[in-house]
């Protein structure tokens, strides 16, 4: 399922990315790689706040739809 569907407090494992190469690369640089566990620490109208590799990262909902996660 897309990461955008996860709710606050949940932790999910990244399984895939959709979208352009360039974006994928930037996500990788920020610690979003396949197999990584990410935790949703906040949500608002703009998008969600995630904890990945001990760093807080905010992303908009459109982008959260391009990251595929599993339990």
């Amino acid at each position: 399922m897309p990461l955008a569907m996860a709710i606050e407090g949940e932790t999910r494992t990244i399984t895939d990315f959709k979208g352009q190469e360039e974006l994928k690369r930037h996500l990788q640089d920020l610690g979003f790689i396949k197999g990584e566990r990410v935790r949703v620490v906040g949500e608002n109208a703009s998008g969600m706040i995630l904890m990945v590799k001990g760093v807080k990262v905010a992303l908009n909902r459109g982008l959260a739809h391009k990251i595929i996660v599993a339990d």
């Binding site: 990788q28 640089d29 396949k34 620490v41 703009s46 590799k53 807080k56």
Partner: protein, 682 residues
Amino acid sequence: MSVIIALAGNPNCGKTTLFNEITGSRQHVGNWPGVTVEKKEGVYKKDKEVLIMDLPGTYSLSPYSAEEIVARDYIVKEKPDAVINIVDGTSIERNLYLTVQIMETRIPMVVAMNMMDEVESRGDAIDCNRLSQILGVPVVPIVARTGKGMKELMEAAVSVAKSGKKPEKPDIFGRELADAIQAVADVLGEGESDENNWKAIKLAENDEIIGETVPSDKKGAVKTLVDAANKVSGGDAEARIADERYQYIGKLVKECVKKSGRGHVETKSDKLDKILTNRILALPIFAGIMYLLFACTFSENFLFVPELPSPGVWLAGIVEEAWGFAAESLIGAVEAAGASEWAVGLVSSCLDGIGAVFGFLPLVLVLFLLMSFLEDSGYMARVAFVMDRIFRHFGLSGRSFIPMLMGFGCSVPALMASRTLESDKDRKITMMITPFMSCGAKLPIYAMFAATLFADSNQTMIVFSIYMLGIVVAVLSALILNKFAFKSETSNFIMELPQYRIPTLKSVAIHAWEKVKGFAVKAGTVIFASTVLIWFLSNFNFSGMCHMEDSLLAAIGNGIKWIFAPLGFADWRASVGVVTGWIAKENIVATFGQLFGNVSEETVEAVMAGEEALPAIKEVFSKASAYAYMAFNLLCMPCFAAVGAMKREYGSWKWTLRAVGFQMVTAYVVALLVNIVGSMVF
């Protein structure tokens, strides 16, 4: 012998703090050639032979943004004698991702393990000696904010730079992948070469910029081998490389970092974020903070206390007074020296021009001190995120909000604030539309017209409607520019939210000073030159000095007034007003005062405040054309100081002229529409 040491690290890792700490105040800020990425150079305060180059903050050496390209080109091509890689110890795993990539270039390097105080207060421990052993490069624990460890760090860096000791080739990749990469390197050139090894990794990562540097006779062979690398990686070598780097880092962290074992503890930052980025509370809180920011800078009735000036206004008053006194004495001295009338006139108008800049320098300073505080505290990242939702509708990102908001105060600092925008497209558009936010200097124009021509209607509503017009035109412009001029997709929003930290006074002061200094120098020169020019044009014609009605400026006004006929104000005085408005928008009122009946200075001030009317302008303006005139001056080219700031931020005349052209056309079209519609309504 002098050495060059470059600072590299993630955004928010404390790099700027470290840079300030190492160089003291001896630093030079500029732009990297061709891009609007800030370039900072300095000298080590304890050894003038050590040059420090601050590279832009980057997450990796892959070419995602202009910053990353600048940083990696510098490391790979310019080859500093050593790199200090700053690592934020509190998020060591993600920060080491850049570290291993710098190691891949095999440039002599030192790791500065920063924020060690926070690591300790969390109950964690980082074994820097062990990490240094494994990586084969010195790892020095530091606390950049307090200066702790600075001496040891610089000793290590200088010694590495002087010896030129390269780090060992890091053993990151698994056998299969390493062999595949080695095969690519072998095709690029025979024998062991650091440059080819690094390029081979980048080629396997599908790096287009490096791909173009491959000689054409080798392109085929390289492609075959990169395909092979993809194959052993399960289809995507790039993802595999990233994955193996993180695995390598995972092992390092396991070996060298002792976690407190408390698991995830909710920090103060987390608690603050629960409120400041809250679905419902975020916007009201932000509005409150912005209100305070503006009140501190511009308010004449600070915190609703009548007549109490805000710190900004108070400071501006002092500077203005001091300048007025200095200018008067200077003019007195010039007169006493027996200078001719025109020389005195020139000197006094030059002093007025420079005085105008000095007059709002304190406002800019206060505004920037507060903005820098918010920026350094980590709050601005949250603001950009919270506003993103709204700005996305206009094809901009949330980061555009800050410059546009500042535009209501003064376009100059607003344009400079656009520098923080990551996307080039967003930055260019934001700079084009920021001057549409009605700045403080435009208010007197509205006050004059409202008092004179709209005395029978609700004057506040007239002024308010002009402000709204600016906002609406800005939003429409953003939509149109996005659709037709830039044609690129709305950029995704992804941004690290750094931990909240109380910024040090020193870093805020340096941050603000950098901006104000640049503003004073550049804007000062533009204003000065244009003041001299306009003064000359308004006091001379071909036969010498004359009254303004007979001057070259009047001739120009008469020559161009036909342009404004469709807008309803084909009058030379109105045309001259537009031109003098470019020096400073409030000049329009002074010009009108002079041209429409030669009123006294006190009257001009009363007109500016909207307390007095200027009946003579009724002969030229109808309600419709007056509104069109206000709209035109709101939207057309901003004052020269702002154009100077635009030039500085765009980094090219081409883009500056495009922006000014766009503003001129927009102003004309909107004023035309206003005149047509207004003639029907009024």
